[in-house]
Symmetry: C2
Subunit: 379 residues, 2 copies
């Protein structure tokens, strides 16, 4: 099958990701690379705008003509500025599209279009793409062209994802089960465990939320922005809420939970930060109070005792201070398959350690791993 968008990423390390047949939407095909550059648009001559789909084989296609900017670019102004896609000669402009790397095509509507004309062009384009053995068709509609959403759905497209300013619709031409990839499934958050060398942690009380008015001290936490490194997110949140500058040290633990919002999941990273400034200046709009608090005092709060994650964090912080806990440190890595850099988090202490003997574990490594020795909590 085709590779997915994640494949394109993971291919950097593993060739390509494989996909379970059980979950159609997380599978293979990925057509939304706007870096693809081959336009497929042509002008299609048709005596009638109706029944184009059924008349596929009979259509005469003016080869080699590319669709100009006439109908799909230019002004993004009012909806009244409709540009016709059927010219005086009865020709239908095909939608300008770029090919992706996965035998698909991508259309981005950038100017107002009359829904009827859009549908005519879409039908004609689908005929051509079908003849060309294309697979996935992606149509990106900016929100100002929301009048085209319903017509697109009526042509058999469905929603792939939406962001505030646009919606992406998809269609699968082959008669096979589609292999389009899933949309993003997780949100990412980070909590900053900022600990100084007096074993004090930086804690806040918030002006809103479930713990408002309950006098419970918590770590600064926040949502990692789209496109933001976990490292940067943790440091930023601490700075915003408390005014404290800090350096990222390690990911001490992370939590995955589900159904956090709609049907999505979240990943929350508990990040150890080393302070490099110490004077607190709270974020007036959101923070009621902030202070450096002895770790023992933080851990002694009833809320920490009652809640497993908080208790783990307190235990880990204590272990870290006693130098018996190693988290995952960040390393910048690059790929030979693309220009993209990424951040890898590893146990750098263990990784940089000289192997104890260099010999193989005599009766199998797994007998010595935590999961076999019973030291690890089984789930």
């Amino acid at each position: 099958m085709l590779v997915s968008s994640l494949c394109r990423s993971y291919a950097l390390c593993f060739g390509s990701l494989r996909h379970s047949p059980a979950a159609v939407l997380r599978r293979g095909h990925f057509g939304a690379s706007f870096s693809a550059i081959r336009p497929t648009g042509r002008k299609l001559r048709s005596p009638s705008l109706g029944g184009l789909r059924a008349a596929a084989e009979g259509l005469k296609i003016a080869s080699g003509r590319q669709v100009g900017a006439r109908c799909m670019s230019g002004s993004t102004g009012s909806m009244s500025a409709v540009v016709p896609v059927v010219d005086k000669n009865g020709e239908v402009e095909l939608l300008p599209a770029v090919e992706d790397r996965y035998e698909g095509v991508i259309v981005e509507v950038t100017a107002p279009m009359d829904p009827g004309a859009f549908v005519s062009s879409l039908r004609a384009s689908l005929l051509v793409w079908r003849q060309q053995k294309k697979k996935g068709v992606w149509i990106k509609l900016p929100i100002q062209h929301s009048n085209l959403v319903h017509p697109t759905v009526q042509e058999g497209f469905w929603y792939h994802h939406a962001e505030p300013g646009y919606i992406m619709l998809v269609y699968w031409i082959p008669s096979t089960e589609h292999t389009l990839p899933i949309n993003a499934s997780h949100r990412v958050g980070a909590g900053g465990l900022v600990m100084n060398d007096k074993k004090e942690v930086l804690v806040v009380q918030e002006k809103s939320g479930m713990l408002r008015g309950k006098a419970i001290w918590k770590l600064p936490t926040g949502v990692v922005d789209q496109g933001e490194d976990i490292i940067a997110g943790a440091v930023r949140e601490v700075k915003e809420e408390t005014g404290i500058d800090a350096e990222f040290v390690e990911v001490l633990a992370f939590r995955q939970s589900h159904k956090s919002f709609f049907d999505k999941s979240d990943l929350f990273f508990v990040c150890l930060l080393r302070p490099i400034s110490f004077d607190i200046k709270i974020q007036e709009s959101e923070i009621e109070a902030a202070q450096w608090m002895p770790l023992e005092e933080f851990a002694a709060q009833p809320s920490v005792h009652k809640h497993e994650l908080l208790k783990y964090i307190a235990d880990i912080a204590s272990a870290k201070f006693e130098r018996s806990y190693t988290g995952f440190s960040p390393v910048r890595i690059s790929s030979i398959f693309s220009n993209r850099q990424a951040c890898l988090y590893v146990n750098s202490k263990d990784l940089n350690q000289t192997p104890s003997s260099g010999s193989q574990a005599p009766s199998g490594w797994c007998l010595y791993s935590g999961i076999c020795s019973g030291r690890t909590s089984r789930i």
Copy 2:
């Protein structure tokens, strides 16, 4: 400000997440809890359907009347089955809504509606919600009601997110900057490093993708499903591709990268798995070949030498076999704030270790951490 959806999750551990003022869309308000149960729908008497918004103060609202199932539930059949929302007495049905925990309201359209009638109801409803000092308004439109997308956008709503079967639109009533939360920003993948006690790893060659036909052996990898634990995703992908049953042991490392698809990011977890069966049965549709391969042979592939992530994985696997590398083990945790369970990944070996001395680090713990000693790669 208001708490976010992540707050609702992270509140389980930290009270609530805080949000950067810099990024509106990842901030605070979260209104999409369909578990909220207070319907706010009423019937609004109006002599005229026009100018409802402008006539806000003059409207007479029939109090205490709840909107029945007449206009928003029932058949989800053809679009022709429009149910009128203006009755014989000139009353406008308000949209049935439930309140969320964040002073917002949620509308889910479950039956076909005429766009004009929908807009009338929406305008009337917005008047009422404004009077009620509501904040975020969420409208969930199943794809079969895509005819309502454009009218909703024209009323000032924008897209929050979309899944194949529906689109969620949002609106912010107060004159303040909105604090609605961002949509999911990451996809999650997992690779299974399945290693037996002969220091052999389970590797595959794929039938498609960037490495097709290149005779490069890679680990089984895949996309973690929405709502699926990383653990389960890794085990499932290995089973699907190779037929090997395996037990999850640890997360050995993880990678965050950006712009992997559209503008989204991805997180990829390298998971150590212990095999509990050994006879390979490949997934014919996607896998060209699979085998147990000596780790040294895997690491000796030119592709591994060239690519930093692959090289790290080989090094970590080697260190793990020599028992000098500890990853993050999973622990199931629960919350006192909700009934939800989650999975926390920690360095359980270090956490369960008895502290060496119990004394404070004499000159500050940070001097002993990897980042200060120079053992950790700085980024």
